[in-house]
C-alpha cells in the first residue's frame, strides 16, 4: 500500500476499502499510514484498561469499522482526527458526534488498539437497516405528508423517528377529543430491512359539556369561567383540564385566597359525547397583612419607606402583584438617591389566622 502524501487519501489494497477506492475518488486523508492493517469486527474489548492510557499517544492509523460501502465514503470524509495526530478525547468525541449526525448509524464508539506498528484509532458503527415497508392504519384526519417523511420507505430506519411519529399522532388524536386514543407501532425485521406498522385506535370523541363551580361565590363565577378558559362544545382534552384547574387555583391565589382548594370532576358523557365538568371549590379566607417591615440596609428608613413608598397597608389584603409593585418602588426610591439595592420580600404565613407578616429585606448591591 502506498500513502500518497498530505491532501490525498491513501490507496488501500485489500477488501472492501479497495472496492471503495475504485468506486469513489479519494478526497480526504483519512489514512495517512497504510502499513498498519485495520482489524475486523467484532473487537475484543479490554474493559480493565482506562482510556487515559491511550490519550495523547500518536495515531498510526484511523479505521472506520462496520460501515457499508454505501455510507463509508461519506463517513470517512467527515472524520477530523487523522493518522499522525495525538489522541485527543474532545476531538474524538466531535468525530463521534459527526458520525451520529449522519443519521445512518444506530451506534457509534471509538477505541484505541495498541499494535506493534503503533496505535490504531478505531471508530465502530452499526448501520441502520432500511425501511422496507410502511403501513399506517386508522390515522385519517390526524396525519399529513410532512409527518411521514422520516419514515419513508427505503430510508434508514430511525426508531426515534417512529417513536416521534407515534407520539405526534397520539397528541393530535387526543387534541381532537379522543380521550381513549391508542397509538401503537410495530417494527418487524425483514430480509430487505425493517417493516414499520403504525396503528391508531381513536375511539369516540368527547366534548366539553356544561361547566359548574360548586362552592364559589356568585360574584366570582365570571372570573372563574374566564380563568378556566374551557369552551363548552370544544374537544375534551384531559391535559388541558389539569391546566384549567391550575389556572382557577392561581386566580384565587392572585386574589389573596392562598388556601383555596379546587378539584375538577368529569361527569358522565351524554349520547353526543358532551361531558359535564364540575369544579368543586373551597375558596378559603382572603389573607391579610398582619405586619409590614423593612429590614437590612434600609432598616433605619423603615418608617419613611412604609409611609411614603410602600403602598401595601397592615390589615389590607395580601396581593402578589402589589408586593411586586412595592419591591419596584423601593428600588426606584434607592436609585433616585444613587443606590443600587436588592429587595427580597420575606413572608411569615399564619394559616390559622389567614395572615401574612411581610418584610422587605433590602441589601446594597
Amino acid at each position: 500500500m502506498t500513502a500518497r502524501g498530505a491532501g490525498l487519501a491513501a490507496v488501500v489494497g485489500a477488501g472492501l476499502l479497495a472496492c471503495r477506492a475504485q468506486l469513489t475518488p479519494p478526497v480526504a486523508p483519512v489514512v495517512k499510514t497504510a502499513e498498519v492493517r485495520c482489524p475486523e469486527l467484532p473487537l475484543a474489548e479490554d474493559v480493565a484498561t482506562s482510556a487515559d492510557t491511550v490519550v495523547g499517544k500518536p495515531i498510526a492509523r484511523v479505521c472506520l469499522l462496520g460501515a457499508s460501502l454505501e455510507t463509508r465514503a461519506t463517513a470517512e470524509r467527515s472524520l477530523q482526527v487523522l493518522a499522525g495526530q495525538a489522541v485527543d478525547v474532545r476531538r474524538v468525541r466531535e468525530d463521534l458526534a459527526i458520525l451520529e449526525g449522519l443519521g445512518r448509524y444506530d451506534e457509534v464508539a471509538a477505541y484505541g488498539m495498541t499494535t506493534e506498528r503503533g496505535l490504531l484509532l478505531l471508530y465502530t458503527v452499526r448501520e441502520r437497516p432500511r425501511i422496507s415497508g410502511f403501513t399506517l392504519l386508522g390515522a385519517e384526519g390526524f396525519v399529513e405528508l410532512e409527518l411521514l417523511k422520516p419514515v419513508a420507505v427505503n430510508s434508514p430506519l430511525d426508531v426515534r423517528a417512529v417513536h416521534g411519529l407515534t407520539r405526534a399522532l397520539q397528541d393530535r388524536c387526543l387534541a381532537a377529543g379522543h380521550v381513549q386514543c391508542q397509538v401503537d407501532h410495530l417494527i418487524s425485521p425483514t430480509a430487505a430491512g425493517a417493516e414499520v406498522r403504525v396503528t391508531v385506535q381513536a375511539g369516540p370523541v368527547s366534548r366539553i359539556g356544561a361547566l359548574s363551580f360548586v362552592g364559589a361565590r356568585p360574584q366570582a363565577l365570571a372570573g372563574l369561567r374566564a380563568a378556566a378558559d374551557l369552551r363548552p362544545g370544544g374537544p375534551l382534552v384531559r391535559a388541558r383540564l389539569e391546566e384549567a384547574r391550575a389556572r382557577v387555583l392561581l386566580w384565587y391565589a392572585m386574589a389573596g385566597r392562598l388556601a383555596a382548594k379546587v378539584t375538577l370532576v368529569e361527569g358522565t358523557a351524554a349520547a353526543d359525547g358532551a361531558v359535564p365538568l364540575r369544579f368543586t371549590v373551597e375558596e378559603g379566607r382572603v389573607y391579610t397583612l398582619a405586619g409590614l417591615h423593612v429590614t437590612g440596609s434600609a432598616a433605619g428608613e423603615e418608617a419613611r419607606l412604609l409611609k411614603d413608598v410602600v403602598t401595601l397597608r397592615v390589615g389590607g389584603a395580601y396581593g402578589r402583584a402589589a408586593v411586586a409593585e412595592d419591591v419596584a418602588r423601593i428600588k426606584v426610591d434607592h436609585e433616585s438617591r444613587g443606590q443600587q439595592v436588592w429587595v427580597t420580600p420575606r413572608a411569615v404565613r399564619d394559616d390559622a389566622r389567614a395572615t401574612i407578616e411581610l418584610s422587605f429585606e433590602v441589601a446594597r448591591r
Binding site: 482489524p39 475486523e40 469486527l41 467484532p42 473487537l43 475484543a44 474489548e45 474493559v47 484498561t49 482510556a51 492510557t53 491511550v54 469499522l65 462496520g66 489522541v87 478525547v89 474524538v92 468525541r93 463521534l96 458526534a97 451520529e100 444506530d106 451506534e107 457509534v108 464508539a109 471509538a110 477505541y111 484505541g112 488498539m113 495498541t114 499494535t115 478505531l122 465502530t124 458503527v125 452499526r126 448501520e127 441502520r128 437497516p129 430506519l157 426508531v159 426515534r160 417513536h163 416521534g164 407515534t166 407520539r167 386514543c181 391508542q182 397509538v183 425485521p189 392561581l250 391565589a253 392562598l258 402578589r320 408586593v323 411586586a324 420580600p345 420575606r346 413572608a347 404565613r349 401574612i356
Partner: protein, 194 residues
C-alpha cells in the same frame, strides 16, 4: 394508551448485534475511548462527558477518600440521571426559544466573582482546579441561564413572595423542576446504554 414513557436500552434495533459484540477477532484488545452512554430524543450523551461530571463529583468529595466500586457506580448513575434531566430541559428550552445572551453570561460571571470574592485570574485558576477549561465553564453557565429561564417560565404559579427564607423558595422551585422533568421524561424517547 400506548405507554410512551421512553426509557429503552440503547441499541434496541433490528440489527441486533452491536458492532463490537460477538466472538472477538484475533489480535490485541481494544480500549474504549468514547461512545454514547445515553440518548435523549436522539441527542447523544457521551461517556467522556459523563466522565467529566464524575471527575468533578469526585473532586467535591475528595475529603471522603477514594470511592468504593459500588459508590462509584452510584455516582455514575446519579450523574447520568442528572445529565439526562439537563438535556431534557435544554431540548424543551430550545423548543420554547430560550437562549442565553453574552450580556447574561457576563453578568453571571460577575456574580460568581462577587459571590466568591475572586478576580478574573483567580476564577480561571479555580475553574482549572475543577478540571474544566474556561470554555467548558462558560458553556455550563450558559446552560444554567437557559435552565433558569425555562424554570421561571413554568414556575409562574409559585408566589416567590410567600417564603420566609431562600430555602423554602428554592425547595418550591426544585419541586416544580422535578415535576416538569417527570412530565418531559414521560414523553421523551430516552435510550440508556446497558
Amino acid at each position: 394508551m400506548l405507554g410512551l414513557a421512553g426509557l429503552s436500552v440503547l441499541g434496541f434495533a433490528l440489527a441486533a448485534e452491536p458492532a463490537s459484540a460477538g466472538p472477538a477477532s484475533a489480535g490485541p484488545a481494544a480500549v474504549r475511548i468514547d461512545g454514547v452512554v445515553a440518548r435523549v430524543e436522539g441527542t447523544p450523551i457521551f461517556r467522556s462527558e459523563l466522565a467529566v461530571r464524575v471527575r468533578t463529583r469526585l473532586i467535591e468529595r475528595k475529603a471522603a477518600g477514594a470511592p468504593t466500586a459500588a459508590e462509584l457506580r452510584e455516582i455514575e448513575r446519579d450523574e447520568l440521571t442528572a445529565m439526562i434531566d439537563d438535556l431534557l430541559i435544554r431540548l424543551d428550552a430550545a423548543r420554547l426559544g430560550f437562549v442565553s445572551t453574552e450580556g447574561e453570561l457576563a453578568a453571571m460571571i460577575a456574580m460568581v466573582k462577587q459571590m466568591y470574592g475572586l478576580d478574573a485570574t483567580q476564577l480561571e485558576a479555580a475553574v482549572r482546579d475543577w478540571g474544566l477549561s474556561f470554555a467548558d465553564y462558560e458553556e455550563q453557565l450558559r446552560r444554567q441561564i437557559v435552565a433558569q429561564k425555562w424554570l421561571n417560565y413554568y414556575a409562574g404559579a409559585i408566589d416567590m413572595y410567600l417564603f420566609a427564607d431562600d430555602g423554602g423558595l428554592n425547595a418550591a422551585y426544585a419541586a416544580e423542576r422535578r415535576r416538569r422533568i417527570e412530565e418531559l421524561r414521560a414523553r421523551a424517547f430516552i435510550e440508556v446504554s446497558a
